[in-house]
């Protein structure tokens, strides 16, 4: 029980986004898209195709991303930060936990993911 409380507290803690940093920021979306498609940064396209976007030869080790605009930002943030929280056997790298992407970069990626229908 106390463990669960602590977990919630942490999640909520991470959850407080700088609201104006994300809201409708076209530059942030652009930055996120670049991270998504650049090998030396996020390299998400190695594993993911994206619904409605023209991606150059995406892989299929992960699912085609779709309907993400309906996801809460926090759920997307958590997925990219550490996919093991929702799927302990995920083949997806934990981009936040391992320090590949910093907080700002993950928020940019989330802004981009939110544009995926």
């Amino acid at each position: 029980m106390p463990k669960i409380k602590l977990f919630l507290a942490i999640t909520v803690g991470i959850g407080i986004f700088g609201a104006n940093a994300i809201a409708g920021d076209a530059n942030l979306v652009k930055e996120g898209e670049k991270i998504f498609n650049t090998k030396k940064i996020g390299n998400c396209l190695a594993c993911h195709a994206v619904n409605g976007k023209n991606i150059n030869n995406p892989g299929n080790l992960g699912p085609k991303l779709q309907g993400l605009s309906a996801w809460p930002k926090q759920a997307l943030y958590d997925k990219v930060y550490n996919p093991y929280t929702t799927n302990p056997t995920s083949a997806m790298p934990p981009f936040g936990l391992n320090g590949v992407l910093d907080d700002h970069q993950i928020k940019a990626v989330v802004a981009y993911l939110k544009t995926i229908k």
């Binding site: 190695a46 030869n57 892989g59 299929n60 080790l61 085609k64 083949a91 790298p93 391992n98 590949v100």
Partner: protein
């Protein structure tokens, strides 16, 4: 009567040594059989085993050919990747590694000590070997390195150049002789080395936290970008390879270095215990497959 007893005891002795020799590889045999049946199930009819390719679409399935024989896995992803296979067949009409095999033969005949260390060149399927005296795994590259040192020669790089040429010669002689991969686990220490190698293979590595198995067991047949992933089964059968990307020949150690980088890992040294024990595990998994090197890869 006595004759009978002697015969029986001989049979018994042979019987027990067989059981003993067998017992050190019991686990490895279990692992190998499980892997073979996983890959045969997955690839004998990919479209029927959609759950094993959870994110593949209909176009992906069109590109996946059924694999009929376990031997075909020596071709790596070209065993099932239709598009890759046709490119492979085309390049193979004029194999680019033939000069390397010739150069390897010359090194074999002219390098001091090599012929004495390896009187039989048809040995590509026997390595890595567990050296009982040294108590450790010796890969073919390490064996060559040891031989050069014992003969007062300067060591060769273990990734490309002379060592790749010599290994290409060994591989082609072994293939010509029709020999198969034949890795043994002769002792408890050897079985422990095998287990350590297996653990390395299945552990998440590097900052991307990917295991070799993520891409080459579960991931085999899926794609990273356009690259169709090859299976662990058959991974060691056909090295060294001439890679178009390298414009030259490289050893298994060289290839793995690239994959370690993909995992976000600092590559381990060829010849290290880490590399040798992982290769021991990998090669055991291919036991019984034909030696098929050298070969070409994209």
């Amino acid at each position: 009567m006595i004759g009978n007893i002697i015969k029986t005891s001989v049979v018994l002795v042979i019987g027990t040594t067989m059981i003993n020799a067998g017992s050190f590889n019991t686990q490895a045999e279990k692992d190998r059989k499980a892997l073979v049946s996983y890959f045969m199930k997955k690839f004998s009819n990919p479209a029927k085993n959609k759950t094993l390719f959870p994110y593949a679409n209909s176009k992906d399935f069109e590109n996946l050919m059924p694999v009929k024989k376990v031997e075909d896995f020596r071709l790596g992803s070209y065993a099932y990747n239709k598009e890759g296979r046709s490119q492979y067949d085309e390049i193979n009409e004029m194999p680019p590694y033939e000069d390397n095999v010739d150069a390897g033969e010359e090194l074999y005949n002219k390098t001091k000590g090599i012929k004495q260390c390896f009187p039989d060149p048809t040995i590509a399927g026997e390595y890595p070997k567990f050296d009982q005296k040294k108590g450790k795994v010796v890969t073919i590259s390490v064996a060559i390195d040891n031989c050069l040192k014992a003969n007062g020669q300067k060591p060769w790089k273990m990734t490309k150049g002379k060592i790749a040429d010599l290994e290409a010669y060994f591989a082609s002689k072994t293939k010509e002789a029709g020999k198969k991969v034949h890795i043994t686990i002769p002792s408890k220490e050897a079985a422990e080395a095998y287990e350590r190698g297996k653990k390395i293979y299945y552990s998440q590595r590097g900052y991307l936290k990917l295991s070799c198995a993520t891409c080459h067991v579960q991931g085999a047949g899926n794609r990273v970008r356009r690259e169709v992933l090859s299976p662990l089964l058959g991974h060691t059968t056909h090295f060294p390879v001439y890679r178009l990307k390298w414009q030259g020949l490289g050893t298994l150690e060289r290839r793995i270095k690239g994959c370690e980088k993909n995992q976000g890992e600092n590559p381990h040294k060829p010849g290290s215990q880490w590399m040798s024990e992982m290769l021991y595990f990998m090669a055991y998994m291919s036991n019984g497959l034909p030696v098929d090197g050298p070969d070409i890869r994209k």
